[in-house]
Symmetry: C2
Subunit: 488 residues, 2 copies
């Protein structure tokens, strides 16, 4: 049985980094525990222009029960180095935090700093509730006790947090007349676009990078994600694709032999003995997903991986080739296998178990993976076991829409950029066509997940530079329009 | 001291009726108890084309605590008499229930039936949670126990109720391709417009009648409402206005004499002896408010009232004139005084005590009433005493906007009609200018509260017929646009 795709895939949303798979895979491919270690890794001293604040946030925006009036301290980080100030009506860029410690984005998502510099803007990074240091009930330990303490952990609350914090912050800064633009990536990109849709009075535009807002309900085919992974590999190398495609049944065939785990452990140079062949397959599958999701220059992880597979010594069998691929991606001396079981101490797992139900699955023969359709019943049972909650698979489309988005938003809404890289498997659930003159798609053929948000580098290819220039030009228009309508 | 304006005024939102003050005042001018008797009055057998259903609704849409999964039975009423059905993509008009038993609107708001007939549409009236028969926890008694049971009673939940119910209903009717238009009046009109803004994927347009969405925070001057009341009276009769304006100090002067309540009771022909002169003043003030709010033809209550005041026998003193006005409006033989104290068993009082904080007050010499500025501290203390909750006076503008609405929505949103009658004091907080080509204001100089929604009659003046024709024409455009974008 393949790993539980929907839990695992979505957990990658937290990866904003586009650095090489070799660097990120060991830290990020797993779930809760792995992630937290990654978060700790981010938690370094901030550069002096980034100042940390805490906002006393309403726990429950939509109810008025006595407990709803409880508050928690929400972290936000401000960079005012470039800001022209309220008298100049200089813009404010709000980074709508995603499912991670907010400090993690500071060193990675450098494009927002470039935006701030270009527009003399204030930068405000807001941490999403229940991540990082923004824990209700005083601590992560308390917040993750059970469904009663986790119960306030939802996307609508996150958006309302942003609304309330920004409104108060602008008032305190006398910056009510400063155009405010939401920026986010992945789940944070969904939040940025939803924020513009739900709170147009607070945000005059949104840059939503790699936001798969259409990967809910039946809008996007379930195999959208693995089909793109497969395409990335097949476009890179037909033989590499064939090797991977054949490897699963080969692992199954070998695994059917008695006492074979030590042999598999040896072939794949695992640091610890494998517990099962499923453990191996899950880890390999995740490696391919991550490689595709971050298949960006200059590292080009899919090409690296395929080069390693294809470059195995002549006569190497399929398992040997796949093992060579693993080694080529992760490097020697040995390979840690990650525990990919969902955890009830993981925030994103909670979110997928409640409302962020992205039905991602492999069909028969439509990908290079073994069949593993999304099974809502299984998924529900798992969530009930983990948290005692039942997922609401239709809630996101009820609350935020998604069906027939071009018709719905064609004459409603404005000023949203949906940016994508088509190598990113999540682009399958992204907005890839212009919805109107001002709700537009900006994608690159060769980019992957959240690439445009990363810190610009001299080595960036022209198509990436061009994508970012397009975004700046569009945002320039929003700001000009904002000023024109306020002046008029 | 004048009555607590903000509690009382908003309670009138529930009045959709445009029938004469003589008919409605005794039933509706008060708060909780009075209202419930009115509701009971509505609760008659429905005509056969109106069929009642109950939807199992989620209690808490935005949280995922164990109790959030509790459900309640939400009442909705369907009239399918005119519907062309899903194959014809015939429209659906959804009446977004306001702060009242939903059955009350059926016999009054006949314009929606005309809309259904004109457009071969399905009519769905959805009752607002915590009103009428749509009580969480099984009964009104249980629902109104305390802030814990009332805590789920908010406008955002009401909107999410509508979203979920409509989405499910359309799926069940295979009516996903039927354009759906929200219609509501007063608070229900606010909900209709907010529903279009927040759920454009569910509603392709909204007719928001007499919706004072700008009567929050500091957007509209606090005295907006009483200033319009005053203008209505002064425009009708300068001497009537002067009599009323002078009457308050005259009552105070008389009331300062010893043992005067029996004398006042006699002058004003109260059915029971007055408890205080404040009781008299409050009831008179409310009478003037209601008369202005429903100052429509053919009854023209302000003119009636002023005729009675001005027609008092020569030599009648000020109190006698005002008493003649009361008698002219309410009729003999005696006049009930209503207990205008806010009640913790009243739904709208809960809503004003939590989020629907409309800061309405009289300033000095700017109205025909005594000064009575809105006092948030007082208001807060009252709410804390009633329910143990603290109002959130900035929440509505944070969640729904309102400031700079023309700039904010000028290039965002579409297909909303804000209809008003300028004699309605609530029009002071309404949208009275076109925001864009498709978010438009349609008002009449001579109409009052929710007049356009009332059942059309042969005696309707031309300007009212014209207002409704304009609305039909605009809605026709929405439906055509909807079909064009879906066909394309």
């Amino acid at each position: 049985m393949a790993p539980q795709l929907s839990f695992q895939l979505v957990s990658f949303l937290l990866l904003l980094a586009g650095t090489s798979v070799a660097a990120t895979y060991p830290k990020t491919a797993g779930l809760g525990i792995v992630r937290r270690s990654m978060i700790s890794g981010y938690d370094v001293d901030l550069p002096p222009e980034f100042v940390t604040y805490y906002y006393t946030q309403t726990l429950d925006h939509f109810n008025y029960k006595p407990e709803s009036y409880t508050t928690f301290e929400q972290r936000y980080i401000v960079n005012s180095r470039y800001w022209g100030g309220p008298n100049a009506s200089s813009p404010i860029f709000v980074f709508t935090g995603h499912e991670a410690d907010i400090t993690g984005v500071l060193s990675i998502a450098g494009f927002v700093v470039e935006l701030a510099s270009h527009f003399q803007a204030l930068l405000v990074y807001i941490e999403h509730r229940y991540y990082g240091d923004s824990m209700p009930f005083g601590s992560e330990y308390e917040a993750f006790q059970n469904a009663s303490t986790l119960g306030f952990f939802s996307s609508t609350h996150a958006l309302a947090d942003y609304a309330q914090l920004i409104t108060d912050l602008k008032r305190n800064l006398s910056a009510e007349n400063c155009p405010t633009i939401a920026v986010g990536g992945s789940y944070g990109g969904m939040l940025a676009s939803w924020f513009r849709l739900k709170y147009p009075h607070i945000s005059c535009g949104a840059l939503a990078s790699s936001a798969p807002i259409l990967y809910f309900d039946d809008i996007t085919p379930q195999n959208g994600y693995p089909v793109v992974v497969t395409k990335d590999f097949r476009d890179t190398s037909e033989s590499c694709y064939n090797t991977i495609r054949q490897s699963w049944s080969e692992i199954d065939r070998v695994a059917a032999e008695p006492n074979v785990l030590s042999k598999l452990s040896q072939i794949f140079a695992t640091c610890l003995p494998l517990n099962s062949s499923e453990e191996l397959k899950s880890n390999l599958e995740v490696l391919y997903w991550v490689s595709a999701q971050y298949d960006n220059p200059p590292d080009n992880p899919v090409e690296n991986l395929c080069n390693a597979i294809n470059g195995a010594a002549e006569g190497t069998d399929i398992l040997g080739k796949v093992a060579a691929g693993l080694n080529g991606s992760i490097g020697p001396p040995c390979h840690h296998m990650f525990d990919l079981k969902p955890s009830n101490k993981d925030g994103w797992t909670w979110q997928t178990c409640t409302e962020m139900v992205m039905p991602i699955g492999n069909g028969d023969n439509d990908t290079m993976f073994q069949p593993s359709p999304f099974d809502l019943n299984n998924f529900t049972r798992t969530c009930e076991g983990l948290f005692g909650v039942t997922p609401r698979p239709h809630w996101i489309t009820t609350e935020f829409g998604g069906h027939e988005i071009k018709s719905v938003l064609g004459n409603f809404a404005s000023n949203i950029i949906f940016s994508n890289g088509l190598r990113d498997p999540y682009s399958a659930g992204g907005v890839l066509q212009n919805i109107s003159d001002t709700v537009v798609a900006a994608y690159t053929e060769k980019g992957a997940h959240c690439l445009d948000l990363l810190t610009p580098m001299a080595s960036d290819p022209d198509w990436l530079v061009s994508q970012r220039d397009t975004e700046i030009k569009i945002i320039q228009g929003w700001i000009a329009e904002y000023r024109a309508t306020r002046a008029g």
